[in-house]
Symmetry: C2
Subunit: 322 residues, 2 copies
Amino acid sequence: MQIAREAGVAQSTVSRVLNGGSVAPETRRRVLEVVAKYDFQPSQAARSLVGARSGLIGVVIRDLTNPFYPVMVKAMERVLHEHGMRLSLVTDVMTAEEGLALLRREGVDGVVFTSAVQDEPLAHRMIGHGIPVVLCHRTLDDFPADQVEADNDTAGELAAAHLLDLGHRRIAMVCGLAGASTARQRGHGFRKRLRTAEGVTLTEIDGAYDYATAYEAVTALLAGAEPPTALFCHNDVMAYAALNAAAAAGVAVPDELSVVGCDDVPLSAWERIALTTVRQPLERIAQVGVELLLERLDHPERPHRHEVLPVEFVGRSTTGPA
Amino acid sequence: MQIAREAGVAQSTVSRVLNGGSVAPETRRRVLEVVAKYDFQPSQAARSLVGARSGLIGVVIRDLTNPFYPVMVKAMERVLHEHGMRLSLVTDVMTAEEGLALLRREGVDGVVFTSAVQDEPLAHRMIGHGIPVVLCHRTLDDFPADQVEADNDTAGELAAAHLLDLGHRRIAMVCGLAGASTARQRGHGFRKRLRTAEGVTLTEIDGAYDYATAYEAVTALLAGAEPPTALFCHNDVMAYAALNAAAAAGVAVPDELSVVGCDDVPLSAWERIALTTVRQPLERIAQVGVELLLERLDHPERPHRHEVLPVEFVGRSTTGPA
DNA sequence: CTGAAAGCGCTTACAG
DNA sequence: CTGAAAGCGCTTACAG
């Protein structure tokens, strides 16, 4: 370390001034001067090699293209940065398998999964390697880790209640990824509430939480014999797809078709979209997820927590009476 | 390295089988068996400490919330992953200053700037520290590094030509960030082309490449005495703001107001938006940026390159005759 | 083809 | 308060 040499002290002394050990004021001043002169930045590689922690948290977000996720990334980054930590992102550019291998090489202190899916053992394997994990946004039953999610069951209920109130009886649901807890819960809440009314027909189609998939599915649905008068989409992106598919098919929203989404991404509030949807507290979910993980790092033995955050119905212009 | 011990070989031998040195087939088999048994992943920290490279590339993307950028991140990640490298993101969660300090600690092999701005010395300083840099999307005059950008001057011209052809004469331009080359060039091309016509009034307002800023500015503009009949926005996000501000103000698009954007983000093709815009090859810009940087790593002494990629006018539904 | 040794840049006890 | 030493987990010459 040439900083040490130039300041005329030992390496360990430089380390102490940088990390806040006890150092004589004059010594500290001298070291800081040299540090400033070269704008010296200590190597993270060396630090994480020797230290107990790398200061890196892995974040698994597969589809960065869904406007939902940049918001989450940002919120997570903010919290991590406040704690002096960094984020390492895994997206769908690589397989989840590759991503987790990478995260282990990087020596992450923990990982946040936002895309957990039933029957996929990756999150379990991270735990097997002794790496703390938190499930954020999507959860898994009986998973041995901290979890945060929105109250998705209620989200489904709220959507159903709204549509029922408007008098809709021929209804379709555009479902999210099979295996995702959000899709299962939202579907469950929706169906449950629908059953409280008489004479309701429910058609379920698969949108896989993906714009293109939902667009095609809705286009086919609208071209069918008895198209529904209302649609509940398991997320906003699929609702946008539905809105656009309806526009392309010349189906008027909300006059001929009502559309309800789920998420309330900022885009949904735009005047040109004005999507009726159920808001989940995106940033809060992200924030709580990271905080749970950070607490876990300090207290490995505490019992796991499972937070469920409230949702809220947001009425806008894409729904109307049947 | 307990892999070495369990396989009964030296550390250096394990290293060779992992990195492809010459190893006897039987030895290799034995080592790989143990590696597989533990799903062993070599520490990146140790590797980058000893090796010449860290395999990390810094990517400075300030506003992840503009749908433009996730597309770029994804494209960059793809190219990097093909080369066995990783990306380290710097967003506006921290100051640029902090971000670059972090990047240096992490020992990045190079950095891609997508947000270069006149009179900001950060990119220069990276070069001063001996770290290769590429300017991607936004460029700087006489900057001593590789650069890629779209033909933004032509983009401005195409927008102007289209509006002029439609007969518009009272025109406004919603400008991007002062200091960004894209804003300067798009503005320049637009004005230049406007000057070829008679009796044109051009009002310029500042939108700072930001949704909220542009929304307010356009709202004020439309409330003014003689509002323009056409708008050129320096990017798509500001055009969305204009579309929404117009909707809120009850101004019909395109009947009373024509709107042209610039970028052609996927969103712009949505039926509910159908924005007339000038396409720049987003993914190609990202890809070329990373490739230039990767080549630079191997050939530090080659002369700098400056690529300018073609743009293309995309007519959709937000523009009409004056 | 393979092993022993040195060293990358730090931090962490341990003396003094 | 400060320094000398050991060691984190790798790779890279260097012998053999």
